[in-house]
Symmetry: C2
């Protein structure tokens, strides 16, 4: 059955078999008065998608359609929807609903019975359509092309949120650890917010990219004593690195000014062992983490990105069984420069 009864997507039928995307149809949740149906035209490929389909973050329900950096056009709006009209270009990130106590993630989470009698499991954006509560649907400014807006909705927001909550701005020294999908957004945003940005990376060959993205300084963390030279230097250190050991953490902490924070948006599979509160006392620093951000923060990020043309560096891949598999595999192997967006949805799903 075609839309609106069913959606079509590229689906993983067994967690761990992360290369076996199959084009299949699935039933969306019951349409609600605050819901919006979006015909998708672009979806970013997020590290979360990879951690989920490989099983790296633990089990997940299958069959599953991942993808939570979604841009498309509203094709149906519920009777109580206020700010979106049919035809509007809109985006959806990693959240599609909330009971106001817990978030409802964009894919892999069953809706509670009171919202959907079938307790449908949410499905993501490697698909023809998505159905989503209006609160989590964001108008996309005209200045941002869809394939560039998509990665902002998870990756962009995930680094934007800690930067603004830490009140990063002019006069501040900010370090970004790790120049990948998240890190490259963080450099652009921290620079646009007015801070003087230093990129700390294990890959000396990323220096040129770091400077092009707006960093003023580049530090190779492979060099001996790099951290000693930067003791008490930074107002904020944002780590987007996917690996974080105790020794590296101590180095990063030592570069903070008194009372300042190390914040990891990288979520490594391996835990940190050997932490002592003592290690935080010499500069009264703290360690934090977070993911995504709220609606006002997302709207503010899109506005600034549109005004200042802060666009991610994106490679596009036409969506297909093969295309999804290739994108996931390359993100898994860190072979992306710096973000993939799946495109050509019309061709894959018919117009």
């Amino acid at each position: 059955m075609p839309y609106p009864d069913e959606f079509e997507g590229f689906i993983i039928n067994e967690i761990g078999k992360h290369q076996d995307f199959k084009k299949q149809s699935f039933k969306p949740k019951k349409f609600g008065d605050n819901d919006i149906d979006i015909k998708i035209e672009a979806c970013g490929v997020c590290g979360s998608d990879v951690h989920t389909v490989t099983g790296g973050w633990g089990d997940a329900p299958a069959p599953l359609c991942v993808g939570h950096e979604i841009v498309g056009r509203a094709v149906k709006v519920g009777s109580r929807v206020k700010d979106v009209k049919v035809g509007d270009r809109v985006g959806v990130g990693a959240q599609v609903w909330s009971c106001l106590k817990c978030p409802q993630y964009t894919y892999g989470a069953p809706y509670p019975k009171e919202v959907d009698p079938n307790e449908t499991i949410s499905q993501g954006g490697y698909a023809s359509h998505i159905r989503c509560h209006e609160y989590f649907v964001f108008p996309i400014p005209d200045a941002i092309p869809s394939h560039l807006a998509a990665p902002m909705l998870c990756a962009g927001l995930t680094v934007w949120e800690p930067l603004v909550r830490a009140k990063v701005g002019p006069g501040q020294q900010v370090a970004i650890v790790g120049l990948g999908g998240l890190g490259h957004f963080a450099v652009m945003f921290a620079n646009a917010l007015g801070a003087e940005v230093t990129v700390i990376s294990h890959s000396p060959n990323k220096k040129d990219d770091a400077l092009k993205l707006g960093a003023r300084h580049f530090v190779s963390s492979g060099e001996k004593d790099w951290a000693k030279l930067l003791a008490f230097e930074f107002d904020f250190v944002l780590s987007a690195a996917d690996v974080l050991g105790m020794s590296a953490l101590q180095d990063y902490l030592s570069t903070l000014k008194v009372g300042c924070k190390f914040h990891s948006v990288g979520l490594p599979d391996e835990p940190i062992n050997g932490l002592k509160p003592q290690q935080l006392t010499s500069n009264a620093c703290s360690i934090g983490s977070s993911h995504i951000g709220n609606r006002p923060e997302c709207l503010a990020m899109l506005k600034l990105a549109a005004e200042k043309k802060l666009f991610p560096w994106v490679e596009t891949i036409p969506i297909s069984e093969k295309g999804c598999a290739e994108a996931v595999e390359r993100v898994n192997k860190n072979k992306v420069h710096y973000r993939f967006t799946l495109v050509d949805y019309d061709k894959a799903f018919g117009v």
Copy 2:
């Protein structure tokens, strides 16, 4: 040789032999233009003293005179000292000098050559006198008796600092973990700053004390699911507990509101293993630590304590070889209610 050439103190001659206090004389650092000599009349017994003389925090120089919660009278002031006169009652905490890059701790730290040609190791307050830079000498308000002022200068300041830096105040829910020397100060201060205070303790029998000190609620962390009932409850959690495992830490973190902080002023000997940034994402919380505080914070604390009569619960012990040994042993075994101050200095050292 008597004062001013030498000071006398109760000294540990070998780290680890923490019961062998001997009355001995020692040479102070060279007197500087900004220095003040204080004839001591009271000194608090701090957990740091115990960790140091037992070797629990690692090696320390010996012979060593510990003690960094010192109150006495100024008996000599350097030519450039501005705010203290001979005869003033003053206090000294855990710091006696700074190069403005690193702190100089009150005991066990060699002065740099440019300050003292002999590179004298600093010695603490289980002694007749202390010599200290004026910046680290605090006038004691008349309303606070010496034996009650002493414990404020390390224990009090150590919990005051994180409370004020976290902007604890009216309308906030604040939890204090562990009701001991530090914790009992934290309850008084957080309450005086206007927060609604909850004490979280393993010892149900401390409930009465908690409420007397100003807590509104008492939670026994031995009870099953205590943390679930307090999910997303607190604006700030200050831990003064001397033991902190990963499982307890996760419980404390889960009680924080979004974006709020768990701050440990307890410095356990054992490290925390198994921390993942993921564990901080659901409420975007952070983990911090610190010790003591700066001069303006210390002066503000003393002012409020004098105004509101926020006095610690103190047992006094006459200073002597036996008295020092007893105090250290009882603090080590957590048999103090809630703080010891060594007194009767005139008798011990002669007038």
